[in-house]
Symmetry: C2
Subunit: 882 residues, 2 copies
């Protein structure tokens, strides 16, 4: 109707990103700041969304555009299609959320046979005008007319051969005219129509092409990976062209206001003289560091430095800026929040706080918690003596190891099969997105720190090395050479995105260390958050790591891993094979001192903080050999006629394994059900816990805080007798040792019935801990093992589920049960301590939910503890009531 | 404190059963009716409960008892321990809920060396007095002193041998004196004390023994089986003795006011002249029909008939009455509601309505719905030509087949292993309870229609044949003889409790027919109930049976059973093995006409009523051969070096079976998840349903009402596309055939998430059906297959769970979800039709819950439809708001 689809740059501002897209809003903002922005206007995302419905241009858009174009003509004094003083424009996509390189762009639009001549006259540089026209036909043909890039390349190569030259730059006017003639013939042959000569027609076709690029394959993949909604749409920016490729007083470049890899406060970027922006981003020519510009064009460099400082202060964030220098004059083409590594994000945020540019809370909110998991991943051991194969640019830190794969499709296929992959390419393009998603790391022989591969890898937190000239990549043979060394597809290589080093084979890695800035940030987080953060740890080593990362206790110590160790397994099997309680107790007596030592070590490692020990949970058959293996072995023995005690034992094991085997072990004889049927098992474990406690207190370590957690309770009458049993054992140990200690017994809430009857359960439970893995399984009726392999990915793909509910808590289903349990539990026991120990305890969005649901703490894997601390702080800030 | 523990019979009434027990309350009531009840008093159940706490006699009880005893002495003119005119009493247990024979009784208490002589003088029958004393010592020794029955029997046998006699009755005074002497010696040797001579000591010891018998093993088992709370306690009735064994003008008997097997309005029972009550109940002598009494003692018989009529009218229910005739004088010893077969219960209730004795609602409430399942069990085909091995008394109707087992322990053990058992005993005693529980039927060679076995079997609705004299049972050899035929333990036999016939081997059975009275009762039920009753039926045969039994539709028609039939399975496997959608569709095309025919038949069979068809639900691997079998076969083939196409096919099947195999199939790739991933399967099924509908309408059968049910929905976005698919297919069929029909799509609510988000789901679902089997599995986190075998029985045994939640709905957990779903669902779609199709739909207590939860209908197995109709009526009456 009367919707406004077109905004001049001077009508917008940075607050209008959802309407104008990020690029459009920021161009408008820069305009309003008085910065040198080439004039232009923006077609809104709404226009795009209207277009998507029926593939028709919105009513009135053409007219509005024409008006805006008229304005542009007035402002620039140039005229669209005017041979004497032609206006040329760029047509660029720009969504509300940055999707670098995913959608289409057309430059030099407005050129045709006559304006080309006008340009030649105006610039006094016919070769330049011919080259622009040649590039424009190719770009328009590819982007707007949907023709193959390779077809144009073939025609170009043919013409170069005919002209007897090798490089594009070597072509003279005549050669370029030949190229243009052949390009136009090609367009006519492929599309059945002449190359459009009317600039307004060109413009509307280009706008339509940008709209359509919203739904190209790579954009869809990118949105899926980055969880960007499909209905945002893209804006289209139409801007009068400036040229970085008009001579040596021209340049184009990309700068970051701080180093996007380390966060150090230095202008960081690259530029190319006599080039268009595409040349930098595509990684075709390796650009020069921005610092060199100070020497080559000192004035412009100074102006650039000032402008960058202004933009960072104005936006209160690190900026990623595109600029062009046309005949010595600086133009700003784009500014946006810079994608950066987690390390850089932390460093920049903390520095900006000390520079007084942002507050601590802003700093905390600025870090993507899921992103910093990358800082916490292991790096290559610096003390290891390794042969470096080659060294490239360190574009995104972290170590990655995998099979070298030389194309995106194969990387995707193998990656989906669970292989670790390093994607190796001369350079990457947006078409490589699917392969990047499924790779552990990316390695390119061309491109700089701001090339496509580097930007995407940093955005996804994947290790990346770019611009490694020493590599000779042979895509046909699917191998790479470095001198006389060869790496074939499928050979394992490693890359170190922090140093740029490349290695053949695997490399030794070490645990990450927290930087001073990161510790600083986490300190602020600790002060901001309400939720406690604990860790899931089964070993003293994990417990120590968790403490180092800031865990304030162990929210889940699983005892079954202790049962699985090689020296214990035979005793555990003895216990399982026992026919009588007496035999079972004899085996348990052997396990008691072993478990007690485990607990002594872990309690000591976490002294001062609670250690929540879960009693035996998995079904007993998990401790026996696989039924199918035994069946094969016994069938073989039978066919061979073999007998003997070994066969007999196998037969006995098979018998027991069969007796214990279950249709649905997840819902079977496990958790407290074991404790109810074989109380002697839980009795042994309780004894080991309390004897360990007494031993430590006896040794003067009196600040140990064991808590006993009963798993899989669904009915309060399951919990009551087991709690009584644990309390009885505690009493016995107190009496036996003469040492006093508290006995705290709680339960996991991990089946719906426990949540629904949490009031009854809270009468006996001194704490609750949500086991959200199992709770998600039972609430959905999803077996995690089966669902993820068989249908869950299809559910996410078809958008039946927004997220994998095992990764992010399902608030409307599982979350409802959690809220119910919290309410009912506290209605009976007001001080009830409530936590979460499922994997969701380390997921930022789930942590935000836990904060809102009123939990007391989250417990995550040790390596996710810093993430949980940050996420908990963000949750507190985000949900602060005004 | 000042609690009153003792009530004289004239202080009580029938309303006081929880305090005085059933027997005590009814004795008091009969007393107040002016009936001839021997005087006595009752010690309350409260006294028993106080005793149970610390095994000490409640304070004041002894004194109160002494006072009551004094009153008794005054009333009878006899005196406790008085040699000249001794008072003898019976001491009988009597709980609020009848537990026949489970607890202890002592008769003739008050006898000692001197009162025995007094009795001899008073009766002029020294032999009688000696026999009483002998019996008393034995009974007291056994019940109160805890001595073995067999020890007394040994002494008795010894004395009989010494006296040269075979029968007890043949012993003369001297022989009996010898027995008494030896009994007393035995008591001293075993207990270390003399047999107590003081009657008051005897009395308090006996009372204590009765209290303790509340917790003997068989009473505990009985309470568990009959779901009687453990804390009710038993009262103790102390009543002056009357003697049915003083001569031929004495008798004792048991009568029912109506035939307890058929319900026919006739005085029905048995009596023995010159005997004590125990002789009738224990089945040691086979008693005479009560009708004979009219000839032998006409006056007393007439009085008995009148009294019985009076009692039935007074109690408004069929009575089970014990009486004794002492020297021509009738005494009433007990009256209670008669245990009866379901057939009898129905007949009596309906008759009593026509007799104007009770209302229709009373009649409806009087029938135990779970009990009438027995009427609906199959009987032996009367047209079959069978060799009858022998015929006994038809004590409890129904046909049963199983292995003959000759002792209770073994019957229990084998029954627990899932064997079908017929327990064969000369007679049963309360100690046989566990064996009875685990048997399909009971067969005895002794006893009458009112013997222990008969009463218990009727109470439990198990087929029972008693008093089959033709059987010679050899317990040592574990076999029975009938003439020259022999049945050894483990041989299969059948019994027909309706005719008393016994057969070797299995027998052909037929479906039950509903009696006119039963139809009458169910008509009343239909008028009283609010809930609709439908049936779960997968075949036209089941559908017809369900209709016959009154089902008003099919609440669940499972399509997978159709897939399993031998002619379809290869096609189904073809579909599963398909590598592409095209191959899959080719197989589905073959299934389409087959499924369509299935649906035509079933829709026609249920015309006029809705047929809810559930689309494919089970995981696909259920249609493939077992993995382990394939592994064994392939291992064998490998060892043999065998090859060939058969081996190849097996290898292929194994590969697919492995690919489809799941850790927890119950939570795996099944239900609507199949439909989401392979929509073509559901498409075929929907097409088969609507084409069947169109064909029937085309044939003029226009009242068919298919409804499509999508299983296992947990998220509304699963349902939406599948509903759209079904609607699209319906449209296609309408267009293709030109026939109009409605398309109704709903869903099962069977995972907690569906219940928790029922408002979202109801936006798409036109009906809900609770799949409470799966909902119970997921709410508890119980795999039914695993839980029932591995721990659920222990949970019920330890009273963690009151009932198996797969049998009776768990109101506080699963029920909460159901209530939530009903509320949320109707909040969005006010007319939403809601039913239940899990097995709980046929369970009376669960039906009561469904009524209260506001469901629209229940759906049960066809044979439980009458039960559901009755239970639904009872629920409506019971929950009627005043």
């Amino acid at each position: 109707m009367s919707r406004k689809y077109v905004y001049r740059f001077d009508e917008g501002n940075k607050g209008m990103r959802s309407l104008l897209g990020g690029k459009g809003a920021n161009l408008a903002e820069m305009k309003s700041m008085g910065l040198p922005v080439p004039p232009g206007f923006t077609i809104t995302t709404e226009a795009c969304n209207v277009y998507q419905v029926g593939a028709n241009m919105p009513e009135g858009l053409e007219e509005e555009s024409a008006n805006a174009l008229e304005g542009l003509e007035k402002e620039t004094g140039k005229k669209f299609g005017d041979e004497r003083n032609p206006l040329l424009v760029s047509v660029r996509s720009g969504a509300a959320v940055s999707m670098p390189g995913m959608m289409d762009t057309v430059l030099n639009l407005g050129l045709n046979d006559s304006t080309m001549e006008g340009m030649a006259r105006l610039t006094g540089n016919r070769r330049f005008a011919l080259d622009c026209y040649r590039r424009f036909i190719q770009m328009f043909g590819n982007v707007v007319l949907g023709m193959e890039h390779a077809e144009f390349e073939r025609v170009l190569a043919m013409n170069k051969e005919r002209a007897g030259v090798v490089q594009d730059q070597q072509m003279d006017d005549a050669a370029l005219e030949g190229v243009i003639r052949d390009y136009k013939t090609l367009v006519r042959n492929v599309t059945g129509s002449d190359f459009p000569q009317d600039p307004k027609t060109q413009l509307m076709m280009a706008v339509k092409a940008v709209f359509e690029s919203w739904n190209n394959q790579r954009a869809i993949v990118y949105r899926k990976v980055n969880k960007i909604p499909d209905d945002l749409g893209t804006a289209v920016n139409i801007q009068s062209m400036v040229f970085g490729n008009m001579g040596d007083d021209c340049a184009t470049g990309v700068v970051f206001t701080r180093n996007p890899s380390t966060g150090v406060a230095e202008l960081y970027g690259e530029y190319l003289t006599n080039a268009q922006g595409e040349d930098v981003v595509a990684g075709i020519r390796t650009p020069r560091p921005i610092a060199e510009m100070a020497r080559v064009m000192p004035e412009t460099h100074k102006q650039l430095v000032e402008t960058c400082g202004l933009l960072e202060s104005h936006y209160r964030d690190v900026q990623d800026i595109e600029f062009t220098v046309e005949k010595g004059r600086l133009y700003m083409l784009q500014t946006r929040s810079a994608k950066r590594t987690a390390t850089a994000a932390v460093r920049a945020a903390v520095d900006m706080v000390s520079e007084g540019k942002i507050t601590r809370e802003e700093a905390l909110m600025r870090i993507e918690p899921d992103h910093i998991v990358k800082i916490l991943h292991r790096g290559i051991d610096p003390s290891a003596k390794l042969d470096v194969l080659a060294t490239g640019l360190p574009a995104s830190p972290g170590a990655a190891t995998g099979k070298a794969v030389f194309d995106s499709d194969r990387a995707e296929a193998l990656g989906q099969d669970g292989e670790n992959i390093i994607l190796v390419r001369p350079e990457t393009t947006p078409d490589d997105m699917p392969g990047v998603v499924f790779s552990q790391g990316i390695l390119t022989s061309r491109g700089g720190m701001t090339c496509h591969a580097a930007i995407v890898a940093r955005g996804m937190g994947k290790p990346c090395v770019v611009g490694c000239d020493a590599l000779k990549i042979d895509l046909n043979e699917r191998c790479l050479y470095v001198g006389d060394k060869i790496v074939r597809e499928g050979d394992v290589i490693s890359i170190d995105g922090a140093t740029g080093n490349i290695y053949i084979g695997r490399v030794p890695v070490i645990d990450p260390q927290l930087s001073a800035e990161f510790k600083n940030l986490l300190d602020w987080a600790d002060r901001a958050r309400r939720l406690g953060v604990q860790a899931n740890a089964d070993t003293p080593r994990d417990a120590r790591k968790a403490r180092e990362f800031g865990a304030q206790g162990i929210g889940l110590c699983r005892t079954e891993h202790m049962f699985m160790q090689a020296d214990r397994l035979p005793i555990v099997q003895e216990m399982i094979l026992a026919e009588t309680e007496e035999e079972r107790r004899a085996a348990l007596d052997k396990l008691l001192p072993i478990q007690q030592r485990d607990f002594e070590q872990i309690l000591e490692a976490m002294r001062g903080y609670p250690v929540t020990i879960r009693l035996l949970d998995p079904p007993l058959h998990e401790f026996l050999p696989n039924v199918e293996d035994l069946v094969v072995q016994l069938t073989e023995a039978r066919m061979r006629g073999a007998t003997g005690p070994d066969i007999e034992r196998k037969r006995e094991l098979l018998k027991k394994a069969r007796a214990l085997s279950e249709s649905n072990p997840m819902l079977g004889f496990r958790g407290c059900r074991l404790g109810v049927v074989y109380p002697e098992i839980y009795e042994m474990q309780a004894r080991a816990i309390f004897q360990a406690t007494a031993v430590l207190i006896g040794r003067g370590i009196d600040d140990v805080k064991p808590e006993v957690m009963i798993p899989l309770v669904g009915h309060h009458l399951e919990l009551r007798p087991l709690k009584e049993l644990v309390e009885r054992v505690a009493d016995e140990v107190r009496r036996g040792t003469g040492i006093q200690f508290p006995c705290i017994v709680g339960t996991m809430i991990e089946v719906p019935r426990a949540a629904l009857t949490a009031d009854e359960i809270a009468r006996h439970a001194e704490f609750f801990s949500f086991g959200t893995n199992d709770l998600t399984q039972t609430t959905f009726g999803f077996s995690r093992d089966d669902a993820e392999a068989k249908f869950l990915h299809i559910y996410v793909q078809k958008k039946i589920l927004g997220d994998n509910p095992f990764a992010v808590i399902d608030e409307s289903g599982v979350g409802k049960l959690i809220e119910t349990a919290v309410k009912l539990g506290r209605s009976v026991r007001s001080g009830l301590i409530i936590g979460i120990c499922g994997e969701h305890g380390g997921d930022p969005r789930s942590i935000d939910f836990c904060h809102r649901a009123g939990l007391d703490y989250v417990s995550s894997s040790p390596f996710r503890v810093p993430i949980a601390r940050l996420a908990a702080a963000q949750a507190a800030i985000r949900n602060r009531t005004a």
